[in-house]
Amino acid sequence: MAANILEVDDGSFDAEVLAADKPVLVDFWAPWCGPCRAIGPVIEDISASFGEQVKFVKFNVDDNPATPAKYGIRSIPTLIFFKQGSVVEQIIGIVAKAKLEEIINKIL
């Protein structure tokens, strides 16, 4: 995994995501999910160009059921953008790199 993507779990979610000092993109994924594996490299690519302004986080829903349940996640990959602790955008399923960049630029 790229150095600028942080692995977060149920225990560290509040501190690392909700209390973060910049916007956070959380990639909810699991090892069994084919499309999640496909979207991983896209997130890594984007984290290279937006790493300064956005915090990139991966969240394994398999090991950590509490947070996905709290946000009603029943489908992965789900990407959620948090800004000052609130959900500002949610994307379900595979998404193109250009579309993700567009959304990040809108949020920043």
Binding site: G34, P35, R37, S75, I76, I94, A96
Partner: protein, 309 residues
């Protein structure tokens, strides 16, 4: 010969597009493959592939995609993450309008595949990602020890229902006819699986629930017209497909369901435009048929280009 940016533009990066790219790159055509999301297409969502020759134990869709993509990279196939908005096929040199620019090309291979068809019933959009799903490998494990409905009766519906039984304690397979269309070995497995209950002759007329989750579905028997509510935690929909041809306009001839018509060289009604894979009017939509189409389409494109030079 008139100049063009490319010999060949391949639209779509599923198994068909990637294979066409592999053949074209090895033929040293000046080729670009345009994929709007992520290489692999629908195969990314396929849990396990048992009928692709050469893999005696089978393999996951994600692994197959990674293998084919790596193989194309070995021959330097140029894959661009972009979307084709439209094409202009009125001249011999065709124009492909992308989201940020227009490119010209001598030939095109259409390999845009299909998307799952929505049912168009109440609750379907509202609960998408919150209990309504088109992808068991993405969402199946969220339904550990829960009850789900699966709608459809073809290969995908039956195969994915079997996958769901690894997690769900019960899968209602709801099919509008009195027999399944799926291949026999899948039918045998479904009939033998005590977690699958098939509800015959029935359609789902609405998906119902609270603010955040699906609670039940309304099922109507099409023979008796009786309706009943079935308590489920999720609803998976595999009730058909529609071809991804919106960008084509009226450029090439389509069949009555919107699939692209081609001859045995995979050439469409327009000279120099070829088609491969699920988006083609074809009796069978499998990975193995898609890659076969693609090899022929790339070969035909190469011939077309050789003849204009």
């Amino acid at each position: 010969m008139k100049k063009a940016d490319f010999d060949l533009v391949i639209i779509g990066g599923g198994p068909a597009g990637l294979t066409a790219g592999l053949y074209a790159a090895r033929a040293r055509l000046n080729v670009i493959l345009v994929e709007k999301a992520i290489p692999g297409g629908q195969v990314n969502t396929t849990d396990w592939i048992e009928n692709y020759p050469g893999f005696p134990k089978g393999l996951s869709g994600a692994d197959l995609v990674q293998n084919i993509t790596q193989q194309t990279k070995r021959f330097d196939l140029n894959i661009e993450n972009n979307e084709v908005i439209s094409i202009d096929c009125s001249e011999n040199v065709k124009e492909v309008r992308l989201s940020d620019r227009t490119v010209t090309t001598h030939t095109i291979i259409i390999a845009t595949g299909v998307s799952p068809r929505k049912l168009g019933i109440p609750g379907e959009d509202r609960f998408y990602g919150k209990g309504v799903s088109f992808c068991a490998t993405c969402d199946g494990p969220f339904y550990k020890n829960r009850v789900v409905a699966a709608i459809g009766g073809g290969n995908t519906a039956v195969q994915e229902s079997l996958f769901l039984t690894k997690f769900a304690e019960k899968v209602y397979l709801i099919h509008r006819r009195d027999e399944l269309r799926a291949t026999k070995i899948l039918q045998e497995r479904a009939f033998a699986n005590n977690r699958i209950e098939i509800i015959w002759d029935s359609i789902v007329t609405s998906i119902n629930g609270g603010l955040t989750n699906v609670e039940n579905i309304t099922v109507k028997n099409v023979k008796t017209d009786n309706t009943k509510e079935l308590r489920v935690d999720g609803c998976f929909i595999w009730a058909g497909i529609h071809p991804n041809t919106g960008f084509l306009g009226d450029c090439v001839r389509l069949d009555e369901s919107g699939f692209v018509i081609a001859d045995s060289n995979m050439e469409t009604s327009v000279h120099g435009i070829f088609v491969a894979g699920d988006v083609r009017n074809t009796p069978l939509r499998q990975i193995v048929t898609a890659v076969g189409d693609a090899a022929i389409a790339a070969f035909s494109a190469e011939h077309y280009i050789a003849n204009i030079n």
